[in-house]
């Protein structure tokens, strides 16, 4: 829409375009500064300095792709990437599946729906630090779940994921799912509520079973909801940091390291800024790879419709 020129500029004969609407521009200065200085400027700065040999302080000693070569030669980074891949794929599939199933259960016109919804969503209000610490305690081998089951008489029962390098990431996954599924359930439930009752009636008339209706009719109709959920889950996965720090601290050894933790360790503990910048640029690249197809689907689709 167009807005009338401001009273202050209408006093001069030829209003300067820069001063038209000047109060709105002035009020938007914080937004413009954030967008340009922090988001664009900060990101560009990090990318540029990832090509330098900065250690304790950033300096412009160009080293080309050395930092990236070193990054991909570091075991710790490879472990981090593998962990994120396992955590990411499991969490994406399971969160979507469980979130949809729970939402479908709640959508069957049941009693106490809001009570169930409150229960499934409350972990989302808690921080990752709290989540990590609680599950660290429940999965504690000496006092937690393992010990309780053993005291019931099953002496050989072993469930100690946090102290086994091969399974530690699944221990984190349990906590992550507990925290995040409720959100996806809520989004799915909103999507299910948006579906016309007549679809169900038509399916019933045609004699299609409930499960089959969900799989063949409802899920394809909810594609946009699934896409939103996927983007949300994906952007949460890449940020995975607090949960690992609280639950395992990256251990045992380096077994549960993740990229976000790698970046922060190298930037702020190991005084190796260049490595941190290179690693964070790699994280940015992975986001871009995820984001571009989504933006294409989302905004390319709108133009056609």
């Amino acid at each position: 829409m167009t807005t009338a020129s401001d009273s202050s500029s209408s006093m001069t004969k030829r209003p300067n375009r820069l001063f038209k609407n000047w109060m709105a521009k002035l009020a938007s200065v914080p937004m413009i500064l954030t967008a340009l200085v922090v988001f664009v400027g900060g990101t560009a700065w990090t990318i540029v300095y990832s090509f330098t040999g900065s250690r304790m302080l950033p300096k412009t000693k160009w080293v080309g792709f050395d930092q990236y070569e070193r990054l991909w030669d570091t075991d710790r980074w490879i472990i981090s990437i593998k962990n994120l891949a396992i955590y990411g794929s499991c969490s994406m599939i399971l969160t979507l599946f469980l979130g949809f199933c729970l939402a479908a259960c709640l959508d069957r016109k049941i009693r106490y729906e809001s009570a169930f919804r409150t229960i499934f969503l409350y972990p989302f209000a808690l921080s990752f630090v709290v989540t990590g610490l609680v599950w660290q305690w429940i999965l504690n081998p000496d006092f937690g779940l393992q010990n309780v089951v053993r005291s019931w008489g099953w002496e050989s029962f072993t469930f100690n994921p946090l102290n086994d390098p091969n399974t530690v990431i699944y221990g984190i996954l349990i906590a992550g799912l507990w925290q995040g599924t409720g959100l996806i359930m809520c989004i799915m439930l909103a999507g299910l509520r948006g579906i016309d009752e007549d679809i169900w009636k038509a399916a019933k008339v045609d004699g299609i079973g409930t499960v089959k209706t969900y799989v063949m009719v409802i899920i394809p109709m909810m594609r946009p909801v699934f896409v939103t959920a996927l983007v949300l889950i994906a952007s949460g996965i890449i940020k995975l940091y607090d949960l690992v720090v609280a639950q395992t601290g990256g251990g045992p050894g380096l077994a549960s390291e993740v990229p976000a933790k790698y970046v922060i360790e190298y930037m702020f503990r190991a005084q190796n800024l260049g490595q941190g910048f290179a690693a964070s640029t790699m994280m940015l690249c992975s986001v871009v790879i995820i984001l571009i197809p989504w933006a294409y689907l989302e905004f390319g689709g709108k133009k056609r419709g």
């Binding site: 375009r17 938007s28 972990p123």
Partner: protein, 301 residues
Amino acid sequence: MVDQTHTSAIEPSGPKPKKTFSRANIFLYGTLIMVSVYYLLPLYVMIVTSLKGMPEIRMGNVFGPPMEITVQPWVRAWSEACTGINCDGLSRGFANSVQILIPSVLLSILIASVNGYALSNWKFKGSEIFFTILIIGAFIPYQTMLYPIVIILREIGLMGSIGGLVLVHTVFGMPILTLLFRNYFASIPEELFKAARVDGAGFWQIYFQIMLPMALPIFVVAIILQVTGIWNDFLFGVIYTKPATYPMTVQLNNIVNSVQGVKEYNVNMAATLITGLVPLVIYFASGKLFVRGIAAGAVKG
């Protein structure tokens, strides 16, 4: 539904009452109750562990209710738990978190609501471009911007202080909040705005006298979103503050994961519960509004 196979001789008038315990329903409720147990278990374990004494914990059974209820762990967690050489408990972190929370919430919401208002009613050349950058920025991993912000904060002398962290929260809360307010203000009929313009009202007059009173529900949603988000933050707290100004989450992590001394699991769980209490209270008190807040957060872009 599957529960309409039974037909009786005398048909009652009106719709058939639904049988509550058909086989499908038992399966449905069974699943939901089992999942609920999994979801409630950690909260329950937190509560019972924090009320037990250490000897009872060493005996095992993390799920058992406390035989002897003691509030000692809560007192210790609040005022005596140690992080490094400081032994003044979580109270310091709580005070810091409150001092971070209040200005951050106010400043971020004030700026974002004005942004949203300007973006929907006072569009200027380039305003949409800045907004798009802002929204894309919400998807950039924070790690990419961490160090440049350290430099900026150092230059303006706020590194390590609560003021610096407030600024960081304001910046990173801006994309989602601006989107929230922009969409809300865009849904307000344009005629209202035009009428006010004809009457000679300016930018701030319209904002304070027309838009602000109409947007109160969305302000509540924004407050819920920001309070839980900022209270739960760990990453920014650990990087942009120093030990004296650590927010509660960072201090909690340091208390529980410290390697010195004997592990006091009951104190740890009491500390964890105290830290989680603020968002939990907000969650249970706000109900539907919380869901609305996260739903608003979900429709990015």
